[in-house]
């Protein structure tokens, strides 16, 4: 669940799973409510921009939904590409700079037929292992690698 004070200084850094929950549910619903159902201002340009933002957010949410589905097929790949291309075009049209992540998002579907749904090959399990390793006590002595690797292996086995 993303923090309640998202946007404020107190919210801090979000984890990947919180961003995921944001785009899957919180953001589309909140934006729909704010930009569509609530009273609209008289300024035409402002309303148009809001509508573009809403459409863009929904395109991203749809692309993420098709891309991170628990089952995948050629149909999923083409849907993902369709929505991702719409999203990236809207980002470009709004005047924002595209980053390398945007480019690599278009390479992502090449891996879906080869490796199946993303749940089999994303980094969540490995980040969990990193989390276990980070919590281990090194006594700030990094030369103790022998003890570290043994303890790491023990922790993984005993867990």
């Amino acid at each position: 669940m993303p923090p309640a004070q998202l946007g404020e200084k107190g919210a801090g850094k979000l984890k990947a799973d919180q961003w995921r929950s944001l785009i899957e549910f919180d953001l589309p619903i909140s934006m729909l409510r704010l930009y569509f159902f609530d009273a609209q201002s008289g300024d035409e340009a402002h309303n148009r921009r809001r509508k573009t933002m809403l459409q863009s957010t929904f395109n991203l949410a749809m692309a993420v939904r098709w891309g991170t589905s628990h089952r995948t097929s050629d149909g999923h790949v083409s849907k993902y590409m369709h929505y991702m291309k719409l999203y990236l075009t809207s980002v470009k049209d709004m005047g924002f700079e595209l980053k390398p992540n945007h480019h690599h998002a278009l390479h992502l579907p090449d891996f879906l037929p080869r490796y199946g749904p993303v749940h089999g090959w994303w980094m969540y399990p490995f980040e969990r292992v990193i989390g276990i390793l980070q919590k281990m006590n090194t006594n700030n002595r990094l030369g103790m690698h022998v003890a570290f690797i043994r303890q790491a292996t023990y922790v993984l086995i005993v867990q």
Binding site: S73, V91, H103, A105, P117, H119, V129, I130, L133
Partner: protein
């Protein structure tokens, strides 16, 4: 039961050894008291006699000690060569080479960095590695995993289940993906399914960096890397359990630079190559009472984007010509969304470029190959079945959630923009930019000036700081434009005032003098090339070469 409790206290509760020993001794006292109340039998007395009082005994009883090899690693991050120990029978201890003997090129300079330092073990003076790399033995770990009850049955039943499920045409797991059918064995046949009498396994590797100090310690942060493998033949419910994941080793600080990571990947690749070509014959395993040969292959490497560049030894994401390891789009072309027009990279090209890079005789030859292909040699190229382009994945977690979604929320929607909004630069800051420029700065010096002050100054002298679409020009581009502009604006008296050596070139033209000036200020090739394109004097080019 109390022994297992002590193990959990030690490894999960992070209790010190003394605390664990205290718990053991109290437990032993309690057991003694219990036996005094009821008459103990001879087996009870034997149990009491052998009850451990040190947690190290408990470790050996539960056989959780992993089989590890401690390599000595060169201290220099750009070398990082590793050396396995040998056993000295006379002194009865492990010994490592004293000095690093690696050479970047045949016949080139030998590293000669000291690898070991003195220490005391059991009252005896020994030499231990200064930067040890402790690696777990893959064969021993694999054997231990396959011996655990239910693992081999889980592998077989899951493969049968996937075979049935494949008829539906949809993919539910990595085991349904085409990579399981693509990989070939040494004879060119499909690696899976395994022939009779063999067990064949596919693994996924992950290489990731982390800070073992958890960013809590004041002072510089430390970065170490981890190499972890998972067995893809297990069902997902077992695959990602911590006890089924293989931690090969932790790459010690400092992080190896560029191709030096190959030294650590070589340990993994050596084990996988042996397993692929020869396999490992285990004399007895569950479901195989007469033994079985086990072969392994690597199906994929899972890392984030910067990590994938490091593991492949490719150019960085910010490289001008080769930012992408999957297609040949240059950095300026990343905004192009017509993916049908992108030219894909092939594994043969990558391998050939890596081979040429490895065989080059000096740094200049290597730089030329790298600039034209964006490839250095990677240890993974040694695996004969390895597809250098397609087998390293774009991690969806980092790309979609930490990349696209975060960018969308923070930059496009502007949530949390209050903390990143900057104040406009003061007049003093902008004038400081002018002072820096008047001192004939190098590119590195100008990069240190705050970006906002640079932008305002550029606008003032007529250099564009935003594109037609309204996006900001990057700092590197701004600095480049500024440096080229000052080269044109310099006059001969201003230059000779600062550089007395130029007085000997009194007959040279103004632009020739500026050329000397640029070489003295160590400007980058990029700036000089751009300047030369604009200037038409052949003399300038001769001096530059």
């Amino acid at each position: 039961m109390p022994l297992y409790m002590v193990l959990v206290l030690q490894y999960l509760g992070h209790c010190a050894r003394d605390t664990c020993n205290f718990v053991l001794q109290m437990t032993k006292l309690w057991v003694e008291g219990f036996f005094e109340t009821f008459t103990p039998s001879s087996s009870d007395k034997r149990l009491l006699r052998r009850f451990p009082v040190d947690v190290r005994t408990v470790n050996s009883l539960f056989e959780v000690e992993p089989t590890t090899i401690t390599y000595a690693t060169c201290l220099r991050p750009e070398c990082s060569a590793i050396y396995a120990p040998s056993y000295d029978h006379r002194r009865k201890q492990m010994v490592w080479p004293q000095e690093c003997g690696s050479q970047k090129f045949k016949g080139g300079k030998i590293c000669k960095t000291i690898l070991t330092k003195s220490a005391v073990a059991n009252g005896v003076s020994v030499q231990v590695p200064i930067r040890p790399f402790v690696a777990q033995d893959f064969v021993a770990w694999q054997g231990a995993q396959l011996c655990r009850p239910g693992i081999i049955d889980a592998v077989k039943s899951y493969q049968a289940f996937c075979k049935e499920r494949a008829k539906s045409g949809e993919l539910y797991d990595i085991a349904d993906g085409s990579v399981f059918r693509e990989i070939r064995d040494a004879h060119g046949h499909a690696f899976l399914p395994a022939p009779d009498g063999e067990l064949r396994l596919l693994y996924a590797a992950s290489v990731d960096d982390f800070n073992p100090r958890m960013n809590k310690a004041a002072g510089k942060s430390v970065s170490t890397g981890s190499i972890v493998l998972v067995n893809l033949m297990l069902p997902p419910s077992l695959r990602y359990k911590a006890e089924n994941m293989f931690l090969l080793g932790i790459i010690p600080h400092p992080q190896p630079r560029l191709e030096a990571i190959n030294c650590f990947l070589d340990v993994l690749v050596d084990s996988l190559l042996r397993s692929y070509h020869c396999g490992t014959k285990y004399s007895q395993l569950p479901s195989y009472p007469k033994g079985v040969r086990v072969r392994s292959a690597l199906a994929t490497v899972i890392t984030d984007l910067p990590g994938s560049k490091k593991v492949r030894c490719n150019a960085a994401i910010s490289h001008r010509l080769h930012p992408c390891s999957y297609c040949k789009q240059p950095y300026d072309g990343l905004i192009d969304l017509d993916y049908t027009g992108w030219q894909s990279r092939t594994t043969d090209e990558q391998r050939e470029a890596g081979r040429q890079w490895q065989n080059a005789q000096d740094n200049t030859a290597r730089s030329i190959i790298f600039e034209s292909t964006g490839v250095r040699c990677s240890a993974l190229h040694r695996l004969p079945y390895w597809d250098a382009v397609r087998y390293v994945v774009v991690d969806p977690m980092h790309n979609l959630f930490l990349g696209l979604v975060q960018h969308h929320v923070r930059i496009i929607l502007g949530v949390n923009q209050a903390t990143v909004r900057r104040r406009p630069p003061t007049t003093a800051q902008v004038e400081h930019v002018q002072t820096v420029l008047a001192s004939n700065p190098s590119q590195t010096r100008l990069q240190k000036v705050p970006i906002d002050a640079l932008r305002v100054y550029c606008e003032r002298i007529g250099i564009r700081s935003a594109t037609d679409q309204g996006t900001w020009v990057g700092k590197k581009e701004l600095v480049r434009s500024l440096l080229v502009s000052i080269c044109y604006s310099l006059t001969l008296p201003a230059v000779t005032k600062n550089f007395s050596f130029l007085k000997s070139h009194s007959s040279a033209t103004e632009r020739q003098v500026v050329c000397h000036l640029m070489l003295r200020t160590f400007l980058t090739d990029m700036v000089i090339t751009e300047f030369l394109k604009r200037s038409s004097l052949p003399i300038c080019q001769h001096h530059w070469q």
